[in-house]
């Protein structure tokens, strides 16, 4: 099947979604995603960041689709023509979605462990507006510990449903889910309950924001001060292929390996994630390739340091991070 996305034509197998086809072409035309996760069945369609315009439905039926469609849940038809980055309506609509996702987000990046590898940060940076138009109090929830290792910070959640799908598809006893509805909806266990399962830690990796974080890594370090290293072990429960985030000789945290779309390659077990925090537990394979444009890939901030020096020269007596003060 032939599909044309932003003027580039590619041949894809039947059943491929527009998003997958766009990813095959490359990151330049691939729409951003917040809820879609290729490894989780029935994921996607909720966040609406990946919407695109179908200007020609198929070769057989060339009429355009009336509304923008979620590219992650729309299958390609032969001869379909799609506009993503070249369509201003799409970009404007996406800007709207980013704004909706942010109006109730606490914007507490300075104290959020996800900062630096947060899909919402990347999305806002690439597609959002500089200023908010929202002037009302933001939604607030209590922080809850769900189990020994995972903390739920509901304020930051964007309702992508990925963690629910992990629990459904990777574990046999889902104890957390989506409660209430509308903008009062929340991820919760409802009754005090712990997520206790050998694969439960994967909810941390699939969370696109800092709503589910690793308690063993909490406030240990900003991610960009750690070095990602691919490692493996002979694990009986999972593939044992992980990524170690190191500071000097210390393993500060263990995650699954993620690809260029910020999706894990293989889910890992809790033993690998939480209990193997020593270099001697692992066979080191080498530095991890970090593909996307997060600060981690800047590899070690020479550029940032230069920038900092320049800024400091211009703004004396003003802290670099002190964003609230103006010269």
């Amino acid at each position: 099947m032939k599909v044309t996305i932003d003027g580039i034509t590619i041949d894809v197998p039947k059943g491929t979604t527009i998003l997958e086809a766009a990813r095959m072409i490359g990151p330049e035309v691939a729409p951003p995603t917040m809820c879609y996760y290729s490894k989780l069945k029935t994921s996607g369609g909720y966040c609406r960041t990946c919407i695109v315009k179908v200007t020609q439905g198929s070769a057989a039926n060339p009429t355009p689709m009336p509304k923008p469609v979620a590219s992650c849940r729309t299958e390609v038809m032969d001869g379909m023509v799609v506009e993503n980055t070249i369509n201003n309506d799409v970009l404007e609509a996406r800007k709207g979605v980013v704004e909706f996702l942010l109006i109730n987000h606490p914007l507490d990046c300075p104290v959020c462990d996800q900062a630096g590898e947060c899909s919402l940060q990347d999305l806002s940076y690439e597609h959002g507006a500089a200023k908010t138009r929202y002037e009302f109090p933001r939604r607030e929830f209590e922080r809850i510990d769900i189990g020994k290792y995972v903390q739920l910070h509901m304020n930051r959640c964007i309702m992508c449903f990925r963690c629910v799908k992990v629990a459904e598809q990777l574990t046999d006893n889902r104890v957390h889910g989506v409660m209430h509805r509308g903008d009062a909806a929340e991820i919760s266990t409802y009754i005090e309950n712990v997520i206790e399962n050998e694969f439960s830690g994967n909810v941390i990796d699939v969370c696109p924001v800092g709503a589910l974080t690793d308690k063993t890594f909490r406030f240990k370090s900003r991610v960009w001060f750690t070095k990602p290293v691919d490692a493996s072990c002979d694990c009986k429960k999972c593939s044992g292929k992980v990524r170690l985030w190191m500071k000097g000789p210390d393993v500060l945290r263990v995650t699954a390996r993620k690809n260029m779309w910020a999706e894990v390659e293989e889910f890992i077990c809790n033993t690998c994630r939480f209990d193997r925090k020593s270099v001697s537990d692992w066979k080191i394979e080498g530095p991890s390739p970090i593909h996307r444009g997060s600060v981690i890939s800047q590899n070690h901030y020479n550029h940032l340091n230069e920038l900092k020096v320049q800024v400091m020269k211009q703004q004396k007596a003003l802290g670099f991070m002190d964003i609230n003060k103006r010269p």
């Binding site: 909720y46 609406r48 309702m159 509805r181 509308g182």
Partner: protein, 445 residues
């Protein structure tokens, strides 16, 4: 007097019982269908009748039926959408409460046409007492052999059940309804697949509104062509209109499609004019989600032609100067009505009813309500009008299900036609509630 096909017997004492209903010609369509018609013939008659979905979208019913997949060995279902929740709409409740057998007869005849051995009536939970009325009618129908095994000695067997909902407007959306019927949260499904291919429990399913199913009865009885003679153009047959607001005679009216809006509002046969001799200010013609129109545009189209109660005439002029027939929830507002405050009640409604699945609706509906609240508090600024407009434009068409549009359209229409009211509040920094509640005032005095 216009012809009535659905609620012509509503005032007959005991019409809720099988005995009286039968004495007035009830269940004739089942006899005719099962004894003398093939299932596809009924679908053909429905196609010929030009019947369009009465729930709001107005999709041709015969076409919807013909999309139903019929794979071997897979059960098919008919589901009746009795989750009537669109503000301003109460016609289905009236029909089910007064003449429950009209719906059940339609369910049997339609199920025969679709080859459905089981059907469900999904009724909103708030209508629990109506569900009791339906259950009693179903029990009567079973006892008399209209439901159950080998109906009328044919090999057609059918079971019909009532399920109550739990309180959620979104379950009126057909895929959310199916989720709810499956015992889940009422989150609309991402389409495709459509219910005609994968509906209830993944089986082919047709979901039709109460009035649509009830209309199948007269269509089978009189023939599709005869039915199509009523009405104008592609708006055939009769339609139940729920009339409310500042009119002399609120209630449910069955109209022949094609009467003028003016006639509907002012004639004594229908609404009987505006209460207390006031002037009409605006009308929401088809349930809360359709665009509100000021008097001059609801009575006449932009071209100056009389506006008719039809799908086509009401939508004449698009959203710039027109609206939609929708569910037939007709809300009339008199000259003392604050459009801004009425809009606030709509915005509050959609915020309350958003399922929370997709971001534009989840976040946008609440935001719009908060901004409208500023108008009621007198703290809104002129830029808030622009902001509201921008937010609604970013919800419309970007969501999984039509609730996004339903929430956006009323905001857009109110600003389009009554911007001066918003600006006046913003400039004066003051909201004056000019609405009158005459019925209550009587008691106060």
């Amino acid at each position: 007097m216009g012809r009535k096909l659905l609620i012509h017997n509503d005032k007959v004492p005991g019409i809720n019982t099988l005995e009286v209903y039968r004495a007035h010609g009830g269940y004739a369509s089942v006899e005719k269908a099962l004894k003398s018609m093939q299932p596809d013939q009924i679908t053909d008659e429905v196609k010929k009748s030009g019947l369009r979905g009465r729930g709001g979208a107005g999709f041709p019913t015969g076409m919807k039926w013909s999309f139903l997949a019929k794979p071997e060995g897979v059960p098919r279902y008919l589901v009746c959408n009795a989750d009537e929740s669109e503000p301003g709409t109460f016609k289905d409740r009236y029909l089910m409460e007064k003449i429950p057998h009209a719906l059940i007869e339609g369910m049997i005849t339609s199920s025969y046409a679709l080859g459905a051995k089981t059907s469900y009536i999904y009724i909103r939970g708030e209508y629990f007492y109506v569900a009791r009325i339906l259950e009693a009618a179903i029990a009567e129908a079973y006892a008399a052999g209209w439901l159950g095994k080998n109906i009328l000695g044919t090999d057609f067997s059918h079971d019909c059940y009532v399920q109550v909902g739990g309180g959620a407007y979104i379950c009126g959306e057909e895929t959310a309804l199916l989720e709810s019927l499956e015992g889940k949260r009422g989150n609309p499904r991402i389409k495709p697949p459509f219910p005609a291919v994968a509906g209830l429990w993944g089986c082919p399913t047709v979901v039709n509104n109460v009035e649509t199913i009830a209309a199948v009865v007269p269509i089978v009885n009189m023939g599709g062509e005869e039915y199509a003679k009523i009405g104008v153009g592609k708006s055939t047959g009769t339609k139940l209109i729920s009339a409310s607001g500042h009119i002399n005679k609120p209630g449910v009216y069955e109209i022949e499609l094609g009467i003028t809006v003016e006639d509907f509002i002012y004639s004594d046969e229908y609404c009987g004019g505006i209460r207390n001799g006031k002037k009409l200010k605006a009308v929401v013609a088809g349930g809360s989600s359709v665009p509100i129109l000021p008097t001059e545009l609801i009575l006449k189209t932009a071209k100056g032609e009389p506006r008719l109660m039809t799908y086509e005439s009401l939508s004449d002029g698009g959203f710039q100067t027109g609206t939609m027939l929708g569910s037939g929830g007709f809300i009339a507002m008199d000259e003392d009505t604050s459009i801004v405050k009425n809009l606030f009640t709509f915005a509050r409604f959609y915020h309350h009813e958003s399922c929370g699945q997709c971001s534009p609706c989840r976040e946008g509906t609440g935001w719009m309500e908060k901004i409208l609240k500023k108008f009621l508090n007198g703290t809104a600024t002129e830029s808030d009008v622009e902001l509201l407009w921008d937010i609604q434009s970013k919800i419309e068409g970007k969501t999984i299900c039509p609730l996004g549009e339903a929430a956006a359209w009323p905001v857009a229409a109110a600003i389009r036609h009554f911007k001066h009211e918003f600006l006046e509040i913003a400039r004066n920094k003051k909201f004056v509630d000019i609405s009158h509640y005459d019925r209550l005032n009587l008691i106060r005095a």
